[in-house]
């Protein structure tokens, strides 16, 4: 995709950060969906100790952690792709 290559260097920093946040948001959403459809936070209660939280709370925190992870990955990738 030549568009992507052409564009990359011409985006402003804000635009880049928004792109990183947005795409990692999408990925974190998918990851959260898959993860919590397999794992029920209530079932983890016995094995892992974490602060008492409703399922909604665990989902939210889980999603935010996933987002942190995917965003960090995208950020690092884009940083090292600068090639300078």
């Amino acid at each position: 995709m030549s568009e992507l290559k052409n564009n990359k260097n011409d985006l402003s920093h804000v635009q880049k950060i928004i792109i990183i946040l947005w795409l990692s948001f999408v990925m974190a959403g998918i990851a959260t969906g898959v993860f919590f459809s397999v794992i029920d936070p209530e079932a983890l209660r016995g094995c892992v100790t974490f602060p008492v939280m409703s399922r909604m709370g665990v989902y939210t925190v889980g999603f935010l952690l996933f987002w942190l992870l995917t965003a960090a990955s995208s950020l690092l990738t884009s940083y090292f792709l600068r090639g300078k």
Binding site: N6, V26, S37, S54, R55
Partner: protein, 469 residues
């Protein structure tokens, strides 16, 4: 295609050098009225009506569409899906993705112009903006004017309108996950849960930012679909295009003048098509990836053509082949392939849905001992069977086991009855005479058969472990 690509790339370079010099400029798009604008208004009302309306609908004493995350159940009218049904959701998403491929090849960015949430919500935000600030000229004048009490009041009203609408949108969004009645009730007694507040705020903010501020930039810089859709295009895809042969050379002229004699084409170079464009491009330069196919330029140019007494359709929905004077083919290999894959997926989905048994079985072995010897000298294995009744109604079951000759089963319950939506824990003991054991580990099968509903059954496999042979 190659011809198309060249144009796109050339245009892109011009745009980019411009963009990198000046940054993204605010685009003031003029209101376009016409056939397609009307169609979009209908689409906005239909889609947003659905979004804002669905949570109010009741079904069987509960919210008709409720993705009850706290209870880990999705209610969609009569159907209840459990986490165990994840495959159906995955299937639906894949089908939706495939449908997007199919329709993109066929109809280009029809999705973007009429159905994308970004478009639909932006449209509403533009209505609010126009309602408060006035039309394009008034908006531009207002933005140029120095800050004054009046300007502040107008801007304040606009943002207040946007924010109220966004907050309501966030509220409705969360009501897909927490029943609307509870949510509304808790809102009025100021006892909303922290997580609900977080998500209302989050979704509201995203709406406000995307539809109020970012708008076409979402399409141009953020949307993955906008990036990938060009690979699904071919020369028979429906696009918005300017008829260059007919329109050029462009130029101003008096109405009813013999423009052909003056050496002009049909385009009067009024720039209205540029002014209405929400992404700020000039469609007369050829197809560009920023074009979201909103057809505002078609509407406005048709208007111009009508006023000039020319034929409509200088800008229109057409195909690249048509522009090049070649015939357009509706059926082509690509369409057939996408179509067949989609058909296959849909049929599989329907089959899976029809064959879905609303039961789920988990068989857990006793963690403490592999096996034990009973007082009578029998080898015993202990299991806990989790039987999930995903149906709405209660059912009674008959449990049988096979796989080993001479196996004896001991159950604590006399009757196995699972209420609708219940997860039943059944401790089960299996015993056998050591002489009947041929191997250390033998597969055994549990069968649950409903006594009150034909065909409602489920089978699960586990192992029976004994001493080394």
């Amino acid at each position: 295609m190659s011809h198309l690509k060249v144009k796109v790339d050339q245009k892109l370079k011009d745009e980019e050098s411009l963009a990198s010099n000046v940054g993204h400029q605010k685009i003031y798009s003029k209101e376009a009225k016409g056939r397609f604008a009307t169609l979009r208004i209908w689409a906005v009302f239909a889609l947003l009506g659905l979004f804002y309306g669905l949570p109010w609908l009741q079904w069987d004493g509960r919210q008709a569409v409720l993705l009850d995350l706290p209870a880990r159940k999705f209610h969609i009218f009569g159907l209840t899906l459990w986490p165990q049904d994840f495959i159906f959701l995955a299937f639906l998403l894949i089908i939706a993705g495939m449908a997007l491929f199919f329709f993109t090849t066929l109809a280009g960015r029809l999705w973007c112009g009429y159905a994308c949430p970004q478009t639909v919500w932006t449209e509403v935000f533009i209505w609010i903006e126009r309602w408060v600030e006035g039309d394009r000229n008034k908006q531009m004048k207002l933005d140029k004017a120095p800050m004054s009490a009046k300007k502040f009041r107008i801007k304040f009203t606009k943002h207040a309108g946007w924010i109220i609408f966004s907050a309501f949108t966030g509220f409705i969004f969360v009501s897909y996950f927490t029943p609307l009645n509870d949510l509304a009730h808790n809102l009025f007694i100021f006892e909303l849960g922290a997580w609900e507040v977080f998500w209302i705020f989050f979704y509201g903010l995203a709406t406000y930012g995307n539809a109020g501020w970012m708008r076409e930039q979402v399409c141009m810089y953020m949307c993955p679909y906008a990036r990938f859709q060009s690979t699904m295009f071919d020369n028979d895809t429906l696009i918005v295009a300017y008829d260059e042969k007919r329109g050029d050379p462009r130029g101003g002229r008096k109405k009813d003048s013999d423009y052909k004699a003056e050496g002009l084409g049909s385009c009067i170079d009024c720039h209205l098509c540029v002014q209405v464009c929400p992404t700020g491009i000039d469609i007369r330069e050829g197809l560009q990836y920023e074009c979201i196919g909103c057809s505002a330029c078609i509407d406005v140019c048709d208007d111009v053509m009508e006023k000039m007494n020319y034929d409509k359709g200088l800008i229109k929905y057409t195909t690249q082949n048509n522009v090049d004077g070649k015939p357009t083919k509706l059926f082509r290999p690509r369409i057939a392939v996408y179509g067949l894959i989609m058909l296959g997926l849909v049929l599989t989905f329907i089959y899976l849905m029809a064959a879905r048994v609303p039961l789920h079985l988990d068989i857990l072995r006793d963690r403490n001992a592999i096996f034990r010897e009973t007082n009578e000298g029998l080898i015993e294995n202990v299991y806990t069977i989790k039987l999930v009744n995903m149906d709405e109604e209660a059912h009674e079951f008959l449990l049988t086991v096979d796989g080993l000759e001479g196996l004896n089963m001991e159950l604590e319950q006399e009757k196995i009855v699972a209420q609708g939506g219940e997860i039943l824990d059944l401790p089960v003991r299996l015993q056998i005479d050591e002489a009947d054991l041929k191997q250390r580990s033998t597969p055994v099968f549990f069968h649950f058969q409903s006594t009150d509903k034909d065909g409602l059954m489920i089978e699960g496999e586990t192992r029976f472990l004994g001493p080394r042979q």
